[in-house]
Every structure is written in structure tokens, then in C-alpha cells.
């Protein structure tokens, strides 16, 4: 199946609407609702246990149009966090003890306030993670980006679905594998991924299709061996992440006739241990417009926090947020299947 060049929204697809995606996810027969499964396994309802990570999604603009993107990001998207909202995020961070700021998109580096967010978070003494698509580092407009990230010791979480070029390109676009290798070499040249440098380079692999990810440990060994032998590339950790049935991956599932089978796979692989460790229990997600969500997936489905919680980052209140009930839906099966899945990879 070819990689798309335009977002769902630009193509005018009904599935570009969050409400339509929720309707699809909740209306299919044959699966127990996520909340029923949680109750049956004494796992729910989900509630936060703390507030360790502030994940800021600065917008949907991206230089790639990946086939599985749950954000429906792409070069044709214009939603982008303003400086004013970015400052609200930093004001919220300053009045909390949140240790980690996780910046995502789109390609977050293309947001004009990205470097402000990095520098200000660091000034406040917080760890900063950049969810990087790698190819953005090679754009002429971003020639100094890699050095900026190194100077601020930003942890890079970079997408590389497969050590097979054809698989990577099938998900992310023609030629992306080679660009990714070029960007990884650039980062290695700055010390990223090298022992003792203090510059952390972690990779993320999503399955290239309607199946679950492999065991994180064994796959990390394979990536380490092959990337070193074939390309001279080193990295710190590999995270395996399950594809969520949202946005363009949901479109792929429906168009390819894999929706029922994939959802059945997720439901059958429900793991109560993974449900206890899902990332939403310790994080808060901020949208490009400042609205608050339990996670980036709820953000894309426009599922706000529980009633009574602050709706916008300007009203950030760590005391109420750190013990909040979490909004769930059938997409949550994606984070609780098998070894579980989070922005930091497998969770069991």
C-alpha cells in the first residue's frame, strides 16, 4: 500500500473528524468495551497516581506523512502552538515538580516556540525529550538543530520502525530509511548514543502493519547489532510501541480489511499488568491550543479530561490533576495489549 502524501484532513475524509473515529471505535460489535474488560479483570477504573511527565504536543505540522500517524500530521497541517500558549505551559511547569517535559508533534522542531520550550524547561531544571522523526534534522532550515539539541542535552526519541529499508519506507515514505540513517550518523557524530557522552539517543519502532510489536529486549539486540554492522550507527535504548487504532492507522485498518482482526488481537492480548502501568497514570498531555488531555491519543480523539478537571493549561492545578480519574475508550486496548505500550516502549 503506498505512503500517502496528504493528511486525512486535506483529503476531506470523514475519518479526519475525531467524533467519527470515536464512533467507529465504540460502535463495532463483537468486542467487550475497554471499561468492561478493566472491571472484569479488577483493573479499573483507571486513575492517575502522580504527575511525572508533561507531554506537550506543539502541533500537527510535519515534513513527513507517515501511514500510521495517529496525529494525522503532515506538511499540509497548520495547527501550531503559539508563543503565548508555550509560555503558559512553562508557567505551569514552574509551579509543579514535574520532572520531565516530553515535546511531540507533528515534527515538534518545526514549531517556532520549540527552542524556547527546550531552553526554558532546562532553565527550570527539568529533563527534556524530543520526539524526533530524524529526517527533520536534515532540512536546510534546521541545519543547526542537532547542535542545539546536543548543547541542551535534550534526550532524543527517534522513530525508526525497521532495520529493513523497505519496511521503514513503506510506513514513513520513500527514501526515509536512508535519511534516517544519515540523521543518526549526524547525532552519533555529536556524541549522541555514545557511552559517557551524557547525550541520550533512544529509538522507537512501531510495527509496519496490523500486528503487535516484538519483545523489546530481543528486538533491541537485533537493532543494535544490525545498525552497528551495516551502518555504523549506535544508540542507547529501543522502545517498541503498539500502533493505535486512531487517525491514519485507523484508516489503514479499515481500508485493508484489518480492523476487526487487529482489534480482536488487541482485546485478546489484554494484559492486566500492562493496564496497571499505562503512561496516562503519571503524565498530562497538552494540545497545541493549550487544552489538557490524559494522553496524546485522547488528545487526537478530542476526549477531554474528566468533568471538574482544568480544561486548559492556563488553569493548570497539579494537586487535582495528580489523582484524577482517566478517560478511557476502546483505543486504550492499544496500550494494554501484550507487554503493554507507552511513549517509553513496553511497560511490563
Amino acid at each position: 500500500m503506498p505512503v500517502l502524501s496528504r493528511s486525512l484532513k486535506a483529503r476531506g475524509e470523514a475519518l479526519s473528524s475525531a467524533a467519527e473515529q470515536v464512533r467507529v471505535l465504540q460502535s463495532r460489535e463483537g468486542f467487550p468495551r475497554f471499561e468492561e474488560t478493566m472491571a472484569r479483570t479488577s483493573s479499573g477504573p483507571l486513575a492517575a497516581t502522580g504527575l511525572d511527565v508533561l507531554q506537550i504536543n506543539v502541533g500537527k505540522l510535519c515534513n513527513q506523512t507517515c501511514r500510521h500517524c495517529h496525529v494525522d500530521a503532515g506538511p499540509d497541517r497548520t495547527e501550531s502552538m503559539t508563543r503565548e500558549t508555550a509560555e503558559m505551559c512553562m508557567a505551569a511547569l514552574a509551579r509543579s515538580d514535574i520532572g520531565t517535559v516530553d515535546i511531540t508533534g507533528g515534527a515538534p522542531e518545526l514549531n517556532p516556540s520549540f527552542r524556547y520550550l527546550v531552553a526554558e524547561s532546562k532553565r527550570l531544571g527539568r529533563q527534556v525529550m524530543d520526539r524526533c522523526n530524524l529526517s527533520v534534522l536534515l532540512l536546510p532550515s534546521q541545519a543547526d538543530l542537532a547542535a542545539f539539541l546536543a548543547r541542551h542535552a535534550v534526550e532524543i526519541v527517534a522513530s525508526l520502525p525497521s532495520i529493513a529499508p523497505a519496511q521503514t519506507d513503506a510506513q514513513r515514505g520513500a527514501g526515509v530509511f536512508q535519511k534516517s540513517i544519515g540523521a543518526l550518523r549526524l547525532l552519533n557524530g555529536l556524541g549522541y548514543g555514545r557511552e559517557g557522552s551524557g547525550l541520550v539517543l533512544n529509538l522507537v519502532t512501531n510495527p509496519v502493519g496490523a500486528f503487535l510489536p516484538p519483545a523489546q529486549g530481543s528486538q533491541e539486540d537485533r537493532f543494535r547489532q544490525r545498525l552497528a554492522a551495516d551502518h555504523g550507527v549506535v544508540f542507547n535504548r529501543l522502545y517498541t510501541i503498539t500502533n493505535m487504532p486512531i487517525s491514519r492507522f485507523l484508516e489503514f485498518l479499515l481500508e485493508s480489511g484489518n480492523y476487526e482482526g487487529y482489534m480482536r488481537r488487541l482485546v485478546d492480548a489484554f494484559n492486566p499488568a500492562a493496564a496497571r502501568s499505562v503512561m496516562c497514570r503519571t503524565m498530562l498531555s497538552v494540545g497545541w491550543d493549550g487544552r489538557l488531555y490524559d494522553c496524546d491519543f485522547n488528545q487526537m480523539l478530542e476526549l477531554p479530561l474528566m468533568p471538574g478537571m482544568p480544561a486548559h493549561v492556563r488553569d493548570f492545578d497539579p494537586a487535582s490533576l495528580r489523582a484524577r480519574r482517566i478517560v478511557t475508550g476502546n483505543h486504550c486496548y492499544g496500550c494494554t495489549a501484550g507487554a503493554g505500550s507507552s511513549c517509553g516502549g513496553a511497560i511490563t
Binding site: I163, A164, A166, Q167, F211, P214, A215, S218, R222
Partner: protein, 110 residues
């Protein structure tokens, strides 16, 4: 259309336990132990299973071990090579029996 093979039947494999639960449980315990990581990794065992599935031409096994191989981290290039191994052994098995043909022919020919 009626066919002998139905993809949905794979999900009913466990029904085989209804006729003799004790044998079924022994088989499944053995099956699980065989595919657990040992001297070979789970990924390597899945690739072997995929090759054998093609040798015995079981559509259920091909379905199951294509998915399993992908989920263990193998890619299409590796899986295709595994199928070629099955193909080579099947073809080679036919060809090596040609020695038998030659032995018989030699024996009965002038």
C-alpha cells in the same frame, strides 16, 4: 462459496480438546515448551515454523506463523528466505530420489 478450509476455523483449534482433553493438554504443554526461547530464540523458531508450514502446506499454519514472525520482529526479506529454504528442501527431496531412479534403471538396464 463452500471450501474445505475456513480462516475462522483457526480460532476453533481448541475445539480439538473436546474429544480428549488430556491428550490436548499434553500437546499444548509440549507445543508451548517447544516455542519458548531456548538455544534458539522465539523469532528463529517462528521462522522455522513458517518454513515448515509451507513444506506441509498448511494454510492455518501459514496464516499463524506469518503473523507470529512479524510480531517476533522478522521482516519480509527474512520470511521469504525461510520459505525458499522449505522450497529448496522439498525440491531437493524430489531430486535426491533421482538417485533411486538411477539405481533401479541401472540394475534393470543392459
Amino acid at each position: 462459496m463452500e471450501t474445505y478450509y475456513h480462516p475462522k476455523d483457526l480460532a476453533h483449534f481448541a475445539d480439538m480438546g473436546k474429544g480428549n482433553p488430556a491428550l490436548w493438554e499434553k500437546f499444548m504443554a509440549y507445543y508451548g515448551a517447544v516455542f519458548a526461547a531456548g538455544a534458539l530464540s522465539e523469532r528463529e523458531k517462528s521462522l522455522i515454523a513458517l518454513a515448515v508450514a509451507h513444506a506441509v502446506q498448511c494454510p492455518y499454519c501459514i496464516d499463524a506463523y506469518t503473523q507470529a514472525s512479524l510480531e517476533k520482529g522478522s521482516n519480509l526479506e527474512e520470511m521469504t528466505e525461510a520459505v525458499h529454504v522449505a522450497c529448496a528442501i522439498r525440491g531437493g527431496a524430489s531430486l535426491v530420489h533421482g538417485v533411486q531412479m538411477r539405481n533401479v534403471a541401472t540394475k534393470i538396464s543392459m
